[in-house]
């Protein structure tokens, strides 16, 4: 495609007053622009129309818009079929630097050079579309979450397949006597209603149910998963578009709770056993079958405890209150004692707590149960310290119920059995105690396997009502991914991106860094170790691009060459001018908007910085650093998301990998006989714009200390 490049400079929002626009515009022809225009209100109807008419009448097909941040007015400057680059003169130049200053002018000029260099190398995306996309959603787990997800999928006009390992649908709710209140005034326990839900599923023609079945294998990619379901009648092969993981939880292994007398005394049971007793209509003592009239509950039994489950299962407090009402319901003279660390009844369950608390025969106190003993008639004697009653107390109980916690089914089973190079399960589960959660802060349901969404208790401990909401969200995500891959678009967080990584495999050395480092397990391998791309699994972060030592991975609008061209286009002043140049590779997701916010708040910082937005800090290839330094750049900042246990990286591993690769960068520096301090990695959260001046200015001071790049001018 013959490019005709149009450069459009907006003079509104203070840009015109702070910069010499004429000088900037005059750069255009030299930068290859066939059309150079300025407008005082480019995002207005007239301004936008001016660009569109050039596209239509003048044949302009490549556009650089030097105006505001690409994070605003993206709809106005959305030009289909036209290669478009936004140059941020507003937030990053005039709003955060001294107006009509030589350095500010140089900054704007460099940004126009960089944008022009990029746009010249960029190509229009050509979406990757697979044939025969399946629009069926596989729901693993037939409990309330799976049932709700499948019903949601079916109601939206898609097909669902439920795989349930038990002989019947219903999951844990089959074992339950009553459920927590789900509607105002949240005071009375309710019938579970699970039978009607199961009936609704089995009578729905769009839902196929496999019971006593497991998922043996999932191969392929979103839209084209080949799933093998193991059933009593042998394996069944089916094509699936996406997956909802709703396999729920298992009760914590109570045999580890000997210190609570479990296994030692017959009348110590778990909350799950107690629920089943209630379901069977008899609250009796296992030792002698007599009715249990005094029932004690111990909260956090083996929870919030480093020796057992370190976390809170969030539902056990409300569950024990519910079970206390069972005790009271059967006998008005019965007593229920609840000993807790903290009574945790989030949300509307506070109202249920209040209602249970108001029952004459329910006794609540904070306390540590320090000893449990048994008398000759199998009554249990509890000693409790640190109570609200002003001292240690002891209490006699017919039955002791341990509020044990929830263990996600993913804690020790892969379940998904993915046929991926990176393994059968979900990565990073240890960050979430085995739960299939993702700490992608704003990304519920996401897992690190594209097209697989988790919901219900397998994701995090939650109640039935919360699981129902969760299932609905996951069902929508499952549908969304199918519709996205059907047209070759990325899903979250680069939703709608039509580019995808292309591999120039002739030059691949089978080093496996891309297949190893992709956070989403996109790439499989052949026997030799050559990557086998699965574009529909890809989130388009470019971490593979950053990893590749051979630099054979590129996107149509984001590649080694495109960014390197931008780096090389920076006009580095000679040594005698004493104007240092710092190049910042800035994560588009959090750091870039933080710089925008700095501009919006007119926070000023050193104007000798040049920023290049990157898809993820993990997509920064070390060659760009080398290119920068050999171009005379004095220092390099890499600003990305926080990483570690509470990571904020939108691609989970990007900023962490970038940090890891620092060692390589340092090697490069040493090879070039340069100080390794010239490169620094910064973690910046999206709200930390106020720290930008100290980060930038501090780094500038350090560069001044080290001295200018000795390669300058070579």
């Amino acid at each position: 495609m013959e490019k005709k490049f149009g450069l459009y400079i907006c003079t509104g929002c203070g840009i015109g007053e702070a910069l010499d626009i004429e000088k900037l515009a005059n750069m255009g022809p030299q930068l290859g622009a066939a059309v150079v225009k300025t407008h005082e209100f480019l995002c207005g109807d007239q301004g936008a129309q001016m660009i569109k008419s050039d596209i239509q009448n003048e044949g302009v097909n490549t556009v650089a818009i030097a105006a505001c941040s690409p994070r605003v007015n993206f709809d106005v400057f959305n030009l289909p079929g036209v290669i478009t680059e936004r140059i941020n003169l507003r937030e990053h130049v005039v709003w955060s630097h001294t107006p009509n200053d030589e350095d500010t002018q140089m900054l704007a000029a460099d940004y126009i050079r960089m944008g022009s260099a990029k746009v010249k190398k960029m190509e229009l995306p050509e979406p990757h579309v697979e044939d025969d996309i399946s629009r069926t959603v596989l729901v693993i787990g037939g409990g309330i979450t799976g049932i709700t997800a499948a019903l949601g999928v079916a109601k939206a006009g898609y097909e669902a397949v439920i795989v349930e390992k038990e002989p019947q649908l219903g999951g844990f709710m089959n074992k339950m006597y009553k459920k927590l209140p789900t509607s105002w005034p949240f005071e009375k326990v309710e019938e579970t209603g699970i039978d009607a839900k199961v009936q609704e599923v089995t009578s729905n023609p769009n839902i196929k149910v496999y019971t006593s079945a497991t998922v043996e294998a999932i191969a392929g990619q979103p839209g084209k998963f080949d799933v093998t379901i193991g059933t009593n009648g042998g394996p069944v092969e089916t094509q699936i578009g996406s997956v909802v993981l709703a396999t729920g939880w298992k009760p914590y292994d109570a045999s580890k709770l000997e210190s609570y007398g479990y296994g030692q005394y017959p009348n110590v049971v778990t909350n799950v056993m107690f629920e089943e007793m209630a379901k069977n209509g008899q609250l009796t003592r296992p030792s002698d079958g007599r009715p249990a009239k005094n029932v004690a509950f111990i909260q956090c039994a083996g929870q919030r405890d480093e020796n057992h489950l370190p976390y809170c299962s969030s539902v056990c407090c409300a569950t024990s209150l519910k079970q206390a009402t069972y005790v009271r319901e059967k006998d008005p003279n019965a007593k229920a004692y609840i000993f807790y660390k903290d009574m945790r009844t989030p949300g509307q369950y506070e109202l249920f707590y209040k209602s249970a608390q108001n029952d004459t025969g329910i006794f609540l106190t904070k306390g540590n149960v320090t000893n449990i003993a048994e008398d000759a008639s199998n009554n249990l004697l509890l000693e409790v310290e640190d109570t609200l009653l002003g001292g240690p107390l002891s209490v006699s109980a017919d039955l002791l119920v341990l509020a044990t916690g929830m263990v996600p089914t993913t804690a020790d089973e892969a379940i998904l059995n993915l046929q991926y190079r990176q393994g059968p399960g979900l990565p990073d589960l240890e960050l979430f105690n085995g739960f299939a959660d993702s700490n992608f802060i704003c990304f519920p349901y996401e897992t690190r396997r594209t097209g697989v969404y988790s919901a219900g208790v397998v994701k995090m401990p939650q109640t039935i009502a919360e699981s129902v909401d969760d299932a609905t969200g996951a069902a929508l995500k499952a549908i969304q991914v199918i519709e996205s891959v059907a047209v070759g678009r990325a899903v979250h967080p680069r939703a709608g991106d039509e580019t995808y990584p292309e591999f120039f495999l002739q030059r691949c050395t089978q080093c496996k860094r891309c297949t190893e480092e992709c956070p989403f397990g996109t790439l499989d391998e052949d026997e030799k170790g050559t990557p086998k791309p699965n574009p529909n699994r890809c989130r388009r972060c470019g971490i593979c691009l950053g990893a590749c030592p051979e630099r054979i991975i590129s996107f149509k609008n984001y590649s080694i060459d495109i960014v390197a061209s931008a780096v090389k286009s920076i006009d580095v002043p000679g040594e005698e001018e004493n104007k240092p140049r710092v190049l910042a590779f800035v994560c588009e997701n959090d750091a870039y908007p933080a710089f925008d916010m700095a501009g919006i708040n007119h926070v000023t910082y050193d104007p000798n910085i040049r920023m290049i937005p990157v898809r993820c800090l993990g997509s920064v290839n070390t060659v760009w650093v080398a290119d920068s330094l050999s171009n005379g750049i004095d220092g390099i900042l890499m600003i990305g998301c926080k990483y570690g246990d509470d990571y904020q990286c939108h691609f989970a591993k990007g900023s962490e990998l970038a940090s890891y690769r620092m060692s390589k960068v340092q090697e490069t520096l040493n090879r070039l006989v340069l100080e390794s301090d010239r490169v620094q990695i910064i973690q910046l959260a999206i709200n930390e714009y106020d720290q930008i001046p100290s980060i930038v200015n501090g780094f500038m001071e350090k560069i001044q200390e080290i001295g200018l790049n000795p390669y300058k001018g070579f």
């Binding site: 209040k354 108001n358 029952d359 004459t360 009653l389 001292g391 006699s396």
Partner: protein, 404 residues
Amino acid sequence: MSEQEFFVEPDLNFIKDVQRAGGGDLKKCFQCATCSVVCNVTPDDSPFPRKEMIWAQWGQKEKLMSDPDVWLCHQCNDCTANCPRGAKPGDVFAGIRSASIKAFAFPKFMGTLLSSPGMAIFAWAIPIVILLIMISLFPTIYSILPHNLDPHSFFGELVNEFKVAGWGNMPAGPIKWTNFYPELGIDMTFITLLTLGIISLAVGLYRFWNTMKENHGEMGLMGAPVPNLLAAVPTIFAHKKFMECDESKNRYYGHLGVFYGFVGAFVTTAFVASQFWLLGMKTPYGQISHVKFLGNLSAAAIIIGGLVLLVQRATYKKSVSSYFDWTLIVLVLGLGVTGLGTELVRLADLKSIAYPTYFIHLTFVAYLFLYLPFSKMAHLAYRSVAMTFARQAQRDLVSAEEIA
């Protein structure tokens, strides 16, 4: 209070008693201790009402019945007004006190009789029946009394009163109370009732004292009860504790009026009785005597104080009033109104209603005496004993001012 481990066996019936007697919201407490922070009356060390609230929730009958703090509370309702949970600690304490009075009652059934609204009709019937029986027995009493006395002598007159006493004199002749109920009959009846009441009360207080000593005397008791009681008297008479209340300030005036009204009535009665038995001075006194003045003033104080309390209870919506509370207000106002009414009908010479009015007044007095240990009236004794114990157990002893 105690760091000693105790065995907990909640008493569901005690909880229900407290709930019925005003503490209906006791279970709502979630132990934030706002109540103890806002209370101006509590000692600083292990303050009430927070700890009593969870004892009540847990049905800790023994702990509550032996707790002097329950009685140190004067039901200002500062706690109730500030409770974020609507648990109404002030009312819960009133409920605990009622339930304690009931539980300390000797004989037991009297506690139940006086605390059950359903039995109110019997509770009121008993003094009426006693009085009616007494009246019907006057001829019999007359027959067994000696008749050889000079009819104009002091004792001769007393005996002769029985000859003509009872309903038969109504409405003939001048209004003369001894024509209806002889002087000696009054003394026989009411000294007996009061004696019964005091014996019962003494048993209850004895139990109360012992249980306090067993359960809350861990700091040791200082000195003897009597000096401590005397030391508490100025506080009681000055209503110092009431003055510390922020909410419901009017109760201070109401209670003060009723309290001094009763003190005045007691003084009047004691004076008249001693004048009668020592000097043979008979009633009615002239309208300008000091004693008469004190009696009338007392009646007025009781009525006005009672009305203040009535209005306060009727209009103060943050707290609830129980059967126990209303009964006492009815009793107080009844005593005051019928007492004064008895005097007024005599002065107005309203023959037709004179004796019935007097009879009603006597009923109220009988109710007061007989039920002294079982009705809310007993709080006078229990609170005084609790304050005494609190001083002796060094609980409620020293405020900064007292040291100074």
